[in-house]
Amino acid sequence: MRKITLSKAVNEALVEEMRRDENVFIMGEDVAEAGTPFKVLSGLVEEFGTDRVIDTPISEPGFMGIGVGAAMTGMRPVVDLMFGDFIFLIMDQLCNQAAKTHYMSGGKLNVPLVLRTNMGATRRSAAQHSQSLHAIVAHIPGLKIAMPSSAYEAKGLLKTAIRDDNPVVIFEDKLMYQDSAEVPEEEYTIPFGEACVKREGTDITLIGTSSMVQVCEKAAEMLQAEGISAEVIDPRTIVPLDEKTLVASAKKTGRVIVVDEGHQSFGITSEIASRINEKAFYYLDAPTTRIGAMDVPIPFSPALEDITVPTPERVFEQAKKLVSGELIDAA
């Protein structure tokens, strides 16, 4: 199968959906000729014109609000938020307006909007361009949250998001834009709420989101060399969450580590760990543990930044402790 970058996969998804449905359009900062700073949208304005690839001023709440209004009246906007960190600027439009409109109207109004944004540290961009803020919006009922872990997921999930009648936020890891993966030539979509078992195992379950799937897979390789069989699962969407697959794996292996690049406290790792404890407690041989980003603002210096995010080595060490019982003894 051919391999393409995550950036190309996103681009293809948009091209296909914009050709399929004339109501789909893109708006955001420098999305047209510039194709975004990450060049993900290169070539789109040439094919679709400036009515469907709309450059906006640097007014995140403004263009997000306009996107919500357009979505409520028959369009299917894909709003491009240049950095995930800017989500704090648009919280009212996203969380008070888009997320609640369907409910507050008693089901009469819909907001079929996609917010494409990014996440991920270690790009030496410091505290305001490096955050992974998906947990914050996952807290708000009414939004769906997708977190692609490769080019394959990025394309399939984005196409599903564009066809969804609800507001969907997609977090792409900005460090993965140039990572390649196998992506079929044929059209496909990936349903929301269906986790993907990336690797089967029997001794421990590693649940990872976005780029943490790769971290978990590398840890699984290292564990295998030590004779430990790790299962790796990618939830793909955290809202809706495929609790069934996660719980089934926990019951099977009896040990779980949840790995996510959001801050560890009050985050996705906590939520998933709780659900596993509630549903699989009597099957567990060890406490479900979490590895998230350190609870500090992301620092600039490489010497500091690199230790704030989960690494395969940390997952590997943690897994060994869980399997050996060391962690339980320590507690």
């Binding site: 001023p57 263009f63 609000g65 306009i66 009246t73 439009q93 008693g106 009922p141």
Partner: protein, 405 residues
């Protein structure tokens, strides 16, 4: 006789500003230092460059250069039919009657929560909405019952919503602050001050992209002009020439604070900074509001938008129904003056009778019908069922019937 409005050298409420306006009664309005000058006599055309120049000079003197246009209506050229005039009157009466009933429901503890009365501002919602088609969109505010009625809503479903009943427009999930008849182009009342400015502008973007010829009106108050979102979306609306009309209902108070304490400079100058054609209108004069709205709506349909209106109006009640003792920010005498001398319904009534569109008796009969209609809707809503508790997790997502199942 003309109805008019003046430029926005800053208006009346406090500084004794010049609001040039003659009301439906033909008399200069109270509380306004009326400018009487040949230069201010409307001559028919809506835009009067010579006057405009003089106004600019005036404004310059005050250090507030403004290009706000003065809308002057020549009543002899009014094409308002008896039907249209009476419908506007009826809609204003319906809003007032709805609000009186809503207030009673609150005072008698039959309504959950609280609500914000639109009484006194009826001419704004009616004058504008009567210039729109059902397919045109509006966004409304926490003080939204008036917009809802004016855009064609029915009393029964409105009272049901107010009381949290299943047959309410939002199945009881929205309540007073989110009430909307969505089927008539109302995209919702919004409980975040200024929160709907993006939505209205987005609806206008849809109209432009899909070439529907539709128009969107964004209702908001003077208080919302303090929100940054307004400036962002007005900028984009002007850049992209969107068919949106920003309708600022300046009722003189931003919640419990006088407008001049929260708004520096002129309100219309804010829109003018983006090159948006702006008007200041007597919001108590339904005919003036309607005539101007019709003109601007048609121009917006042709791609000449956006536009900005500052509608000078007044809120009879407090910020909300529970805001009873409010003399610390507003004198009772001021409220009484507006009720007695600038009431939009009384003025329209006088005009209808004087011009023989209707007799006093016919208008009394009309008001009686509306009262009965409201009373029967209230009685219906009070006995209507609440939503089943199983509805609590419905309508969170379009494609999941019960999200917690």
């Amino acid at each position: 006789m003309q109805y008019g409005l003046k430029r926005s050298v800053r208006d009346s409420y406090v500084v004794g500003m010049v609001v040039w306006s003659e009301g439906l009664s033909g008399q200069p309005l109270p509380h306004c230092s009326t400018i009487k000058s040949a230069a201010f006599q409307p001559t028919g055309p809506l835009y009067l460059p010579s006057i405009f120049a003089k106004l600019s000079v005036l404004a310059n003197v005050k250090g507030l250069l403004s290009h706000t246009k003065r809308f002057a209506m020549n009543k002899s050229k009014t094409k308002l039919s008896a039907d249209d005039a009476l419908r506007m009157f009826r809609q204003m009466v319906r809003i007032r009657t709805f609000e009186n009933n809503a207030n009673q429901l609150y005072l008698s503890a039959k309504m959950p929560g609280l609500t914000h009365m639109y009484s006194g501002e009826e001419a704004v919602a009616v004058g504008i909405c009567e210039a729109l088609l059902p397919t045109d969109k509006i966004t409304s505010t926490h003080r939204g019952h008036g917009h809802c009625v004016a855009k064609g809503a029915d009393f029964k479903a409105m009272f049901c919503e107010l009381l949290g009943r299943e047959e309410g427009y939002c199945r009881g999930k929205g309540g007073s602050m989110h009430i909307a008849d969505q089927s008539n182009g109302n995209l919702g009342a919004n409980a975040i001050v200024g929160g709907s400015m993006g939505i209205a502008t987005g609806a206008a973007l849809t109209a432009k992209l899909k070439k529907t010829g539709g128009v969107a009106v964004c209702f908001f108050g003077d208080g919302a002009t303090a929100q940054g979102l307004m400036y962002e979306v007005m900028n984009m609306a002007a850049l992209w020439k969107l068919p949106v009309i920003y309708a600022c209902e300046n009722n003189g108070y931003s919640e419990y604070t006088k407008t001049e304490e929260i708004a520096a400079g002129s309100i219309t100058a804010r829109a003018e900074a983006f090159g948006i054609e702006s008007y200041q209108v007597d919001g108590q004069d339904v005919i003036a509001v309607n005539e101007l709205s019709k003109e601007l709506v048609e121009r917006a349909r042709k791609g000449e938008g956006p536009f900005f209106l500052e509608l000078m109006t007044y809120r009879y009640h407090g910020h909300h129904v529970g805001d009873i003792n409010r003399e610390y920010y507003r004198a009772k005498s001021e409220e009484q003056d507006w009720r007695d001398n600038r009431d939009p319904i009384i003025r329209m009534r006088g005009w209808l009778v004087k011009n023989k569109y209707a007799t006093e008796e016919a208008l009394d009969e009309l008001s009686k019908e509306v009262t009965e209609d409201a009373e029967s809707a209230v009685a219906y809503a009070l006995n209507a069922p609440y939503p089943d508790v199983s509805e609590v997790d419905m309508h969170v997502y379009t494609d999941v019937e019960h999200v917690l199942a």
